[in-house]
Symmetry: C2
Subunit: 332 residues, 2 copies
């Protein structure tokens, strides 16, 4: 496996930390479904293809936000000769298609911001392309700096000797914090859940932690009770896909039960959050029910060859009361 690990000062960057990159008229998106077999980038050349990589979960979590913003930059490059009005029309189509790609994600908050910039450019008679490029790239640079800052705060939170349980995948930040811990001579062990049905924990988190040199043990999603009851976990650290004004958050299915168990066994439960006031509380988050085929098949093979129905809610909504402390991205 080709290890695309970039060392920058003391931080080693995981390929999952920044999984998309614009290259002229092509957006290169890390195909997370092929990890750990292959580190391969999908060539996205239109909004339609961008929606596809999001919907098919080729990219996920932070990668989705990155793809959404980069798709506007892509469209600007694809239509660099277009008039302001036709460009605006194209961007509106892009925003609409992205908004409708996955129900649980608030892409409209981001696309709305971009469209607001575009409209302002038109009303102020500015060049849409240069204004949008500056704003989107600036916005992404800001996110990048704040995420790197959070990596350091996660590393600070972890103590020598800690055993950390995580679920699904936290897009580079936890693994990069693990690397910092090693540099600071902290001995840390990780437990990663499999995260059925996509096995993001097994495929992404274990791979990424190992890439950063961390020690990780894979457990089935149903072994959390045993791990916590046996005192094998000191802290739980998970990500969040969506945050509410009251502190509730949505994250990969399975997070709710881990939060309840952490509470039961008095293990601190930390969540990486992107504070937002757009949604009041968890009950306002629409939950995506994904195709039951994603549970019933594994690598194209039917796990359960007979006709059976399955239910696959993609996300949990976790009440804020179960959070010990949010590790918020710095929004200032």
């Amino acid at each position: 496996m080709k290890n695309k690990v970039i060392e920058k000062n003391d931080i080693k960057e995981s390929p999952l930390f920044w999984p998309a990159q614009l290259d002229g008229k092509t957006l290169l998106v890390l195909d997370e479904t092929l990890i750990p077999k292959k580190l391969s980038y999908i060539k996205v050349r239109s909004t339609t293809e961008a929606v596809e990589v999001i919907r098919e979960m080729k990219t996920r979590a932070f990668g989705q936000l990155l793809v959404v913003l980069s798709t506007f930059l892509l469209e600007l490059n694809l239509h660099d000769q277009a008039s302001s009005s036709s460009l605006l029309q194209q961007l509106q189509k892009t925003a609409k298609a992205l908004n409708e790609s996955r129900p649980t994600f608030p892409f409209s908050e981001v696309t709305g911001m971009v469209m607001h910039w575009a409209q302002s450019a038109v009303s102020q008679n500015q060049d849409i392309k240069s204004l949008l490029e500056r704003n989107i790239q600036g916005y992404l640079a800001g996110i990048r700096a704040r995420r790197l800052d959070r990596v350091r705060r996660i590393a600070d939170l972890i103590q020598h000797g800690d055993s950390i349980l995580t679920h699904c995948n936290v897009s580079g930040e936890l693994a990069m914090a693990a690397y910092l811990c090693q540099r600071n001579k902290k001995n840390v062990h990780f437990y990663a859940t499999e995260t059925r049905p996509y096995f993001q924990g097994a495929k992404l988190t274990c791979w990424e932690l190992q890439l950063m040199g961390a020690e990780v043990t894979l457990v089935a999603d149903n072994a959390i009770g045993a791990l916590l009851a046996d005192g094998l976990v000191d802290k739980v650290i998970v990500g969040s896909d969506r945050n509410c004004a009251n502190g509730d958050f949505a994250n990969k299915i399975g997070t709710y039960q881990i939060a309840v168990l952490a509470d039961e066994f008095k293990v601190p439960f930390f969540v990486l959050t992107q504070p937002s006031t757009k949604v009041k509380s968890g009950q306002d988050i629409p939950i995506e029910f994904r195709d039951e085929k994603e549970i019933l098949n594994f690598s194209g093979q039917a796990i359960f060859p007979n006709r059976v129905q399955a239910l696959y809610p993609g996300f949990d909504v976790i009440p804020y009361q179960l959070i010990t402390e949010p590790i918020a991205i710095n929004v200032n």
Copy 2:
């Protein structure tokens, strides 16, 4: 698929209810790992082969007890010309090999009982074979009647309109109760967990419930929090692999977290128990850690192709405080 369903009065019998049958010098053991693809019986012709089907989990739960007892009957048939002393010696070897097959199971309690009968026969100058056959067959008949009685009690517990969550597989009893519910015009829905890594829920429970005509939905092990939080479950009913004097019990990994969640969401949690006073409390139950390969591979294919370590505790020990009501097998 050949449906080996026997209708006896109002009860339909599931193949998982009584998954082994002695036929002269061959013990036919249902290969539960092939369900639902195939209903196929393994021919067991020695104690060694019996230990193998137990250790490789070809049979499990109640099937194991049935195989343990039937293996003594098999050995009696294999050595029908042997002297009392050599027969006793053979039976001692059988008992020892069975006792050592899987750590979490108290096979020694059962093999001890059989050996006690055998010793009594010798000391009272009785024929070992006829005494053991009578006692073991009588014992099995008693268990059979009491399990059938429990099927009726489970059915009585289930109300019209109930939605029942179960985990792993309860060896026929729950599915047979589901059949009784239908006869009594109770409309019941079941949720079965996948039960990683062996998928007993997906492969056995869904199959068995469907065979009995029940409606069942498969969910991932990590969706229990979402199901309970959304009020989709009225009762949880699970089995137990081992019971303690204080009410603690051991059952398939994943049961503990379901019990904690049921408690959190105030959903009644019922356990099918086989009361025993041999073990004082849960902490005295040794937990079997199975080979990590069972998590890392699926159908011979590596889920996670890179080198990663996994931890697979086979069982949970659940404190009695989390049980709403045990559905005990009648021991009188």
